[in-house]
């Protein structure tokens, strides 16, 4: 029997909204979540902007016990637990206090680096000869798999519980890894997603690489400009996105709401050859990834209605669009619609793929294309390739059938997933 994999739950903690309903409103309204951070200015960062979800104590207390909150200083875990728990509940699943784990449910929840602020605390204590004062959760909050471990315990999952890491591809990769596991019959449902810490110790390295914009510190909401001629770098962000993927049969048995279907996808690497490097994508690999994703999904390039690109707001955006035109063999007015969430959220790094997958599924389910923020001046290298009407400047209400979502990451790694509106 050929298994079908559907999306039955969503959760999101993004710089511009927390929770799926607020996120949909933010997407439709093209709300920016980029703000100025005095802390970054004090530390003499060139780019003093960031995308940081605003989590109140009230929200924290809904998701964590007082014991879990003691000494909790890992923003990635906070974002990931909120998004993951929300997705679980959104799928209509309950959190059981049963002694028996749920053997059919697993977790693949990725991150780039976790608990940086907690780790900094530990470093200060250790360097002062105070290792004995670290407390019991220093390891749990800083191990990469801390996020899947926290979620696994809260939800009682008994299938595979793990964390993947592939830089900015992480979230989209997690979706495809979960898809594969269900497709192979090894799990009925998988909570997939990713999270990323905020703050100077995560963002500093990017600032040092001079790939963040330094000339928008007094206009935060205009700073993230994917596909624009005036784009000079990405604005760093943070947060988490989560999806419940489920075997169609299981979803229908329990009468779950179905947001959409995953047709398939592809993960590959450019091997840091032929134009690819630690920080740049090998275009041949990107095109191959897109093509194979179409083949694996058994659809034609003509079927794609909307691309949710990686499109970070660097000079590489034009190259990405060119890769899409070549891989799909579609350009100018034949090109599908394309958008980038990063104009609103900045680049949420390891969290970006999953937050953008949530945005993708919402667009399919609700029938809209969110507008591209800050694209008043489309880069001429891009307008040469595609009709600029394909880059909506404002949100369009439009029924969509197939959406292609791509993420690319340092290390020359790529992931493309194809979502389809669900039809039984």
């Amino acid at each position: 029997m050929k298994r079908r994999v559907v999306v039955t739950g969503l959760g999101v903690v993004a710089p511009n909204a927390i929770g799926v309903t607020n996120f949909e409103t933010a997407l439709r309204g093209m709300k920016s979540g980029i703000t100025f951070h005095q802390e970054l200015a004090d530390l003499k960062f060139c780019c003093q902007l960031g995308g940081k979800p605003d989590i109140s104590d009230e929200i924290l207390n809904q998701y964590f016990t007082p014991l879990q909150l003691r000494g909790l200083n890992s923003s990635g875990i906070i974002y990931g637990v909120i998004a993951g728990t929300d997705a679980w509940k959104d799928a209509g699943l309950t959190i059981s206090e049963d002694k028996r784990p749920d053997w059919d449910s697993g977790i693949i929840f990725g991150t780039g680096i976790l608990g940086v602020d907690k780790f900094r605390e530990a470093i200060h204590l250790i360097d002062a000869g105070n290792t004995r004062r670290l407390g019991s959760t220093s390891v749990l909050q800083t191990m990469a798999s801390g996020i899947s471990a926290y979620l696994g315990g809260i939800l009682g999952c008994g299938n595979q519980v793990t964390t993947n890491s592939s830089a900015c591809t992480t979230g989209t990769e997690a979706v495809l890894m979960g898809y594969d596991r269900i497709k192979a019959g090894n799990a009925k449902r998988m909570l997939v997603g990713s999270c990323g810490d905020h703050g100077p110790y995560v963002w500093g390295g990017f600032d040092a690489m001079r790939i963040l914009p330094s000339n928008y510190n007094n206009q935060p909401q205009q700073a993230s400009r994917p596909m624009s001629e005036s784009a000079v770098g990405f604005v760093p962000g943070s947060g988490a996105g989560a999806l419940i993927l489920e075997d169609l049969e299981s979803a229908q048995e329990r009468d779950a709401y179905i947001y959409g279907e995953i047709l398939g996808g592809e993960i590959n690497s450019g091997g840091q050859r032929n134009g690819g490097s630690m920080t740049a994508a090998n275009s041949e690999a990107v095109q191959r990834c897109i093509n194979r994703a179409l083949i694996n999904s058994n659809i034609s390039s003509k079927d794609v209605d909307l691309i949710n690109g990686h499109l970070t707001a660097t000079s590489r955006d034009a190259m990405e669009v060119e890769n899409w035109t070549r891989a799909l063999n579609r350009s100018n007015e034949e090109f599908p619609y394309i958008n980038s969430l990063k104009g609103m959220t900045g680049h949420c790094l390891s969290a970006s793929g999953s937050i953008e997958c949530v945005a993708s599924v919402l667009q399919l389910d609700k029938g809209f294309i969110f507008g591209n923020l800050n694209t008043g001046d489309i880069h001429p290298e891009i307008s040469k390739l595609i009709n600029t009407e394909k880059i909506p400047k404002s949100t369009l209400n439009k029924e969509l059938n197939i959406l292609a979502k791509a993420s690319f990451g340092f290390g020359d790694v790529n992931a493309v997933v194809l979502f389809k509106k669900f039809v039984n």
Binding site: P66, L67, R70, G71, R133, G135, S136
Partner: protein, 84 residues
Amino acid sequence: MTDKEILQKLKKIVTPYVQNEEGLNDFDETTDFLNDLKINSANLVDVILDVEDEYKIEIDNDSMNGMLTAGDARKIIQRKLRNE
């Protein structure tokens, strides 16, 4: 500081870590942290740190290992406060 005062404070310190709330009802010298209160053994180090902060003392590993009940803890605290 009387024995009773220390026990009262100890009860407050361990409360966030307790998984068996009922065990707190008859909290006394004989209350066993792991068996009666079902405190996760990994959290015992956090209890120690909180006790250290409360009394401005330092509890070494040997003393910690002997701290199984509220009574043990009370005695260790008093010994440390006397600087023995």
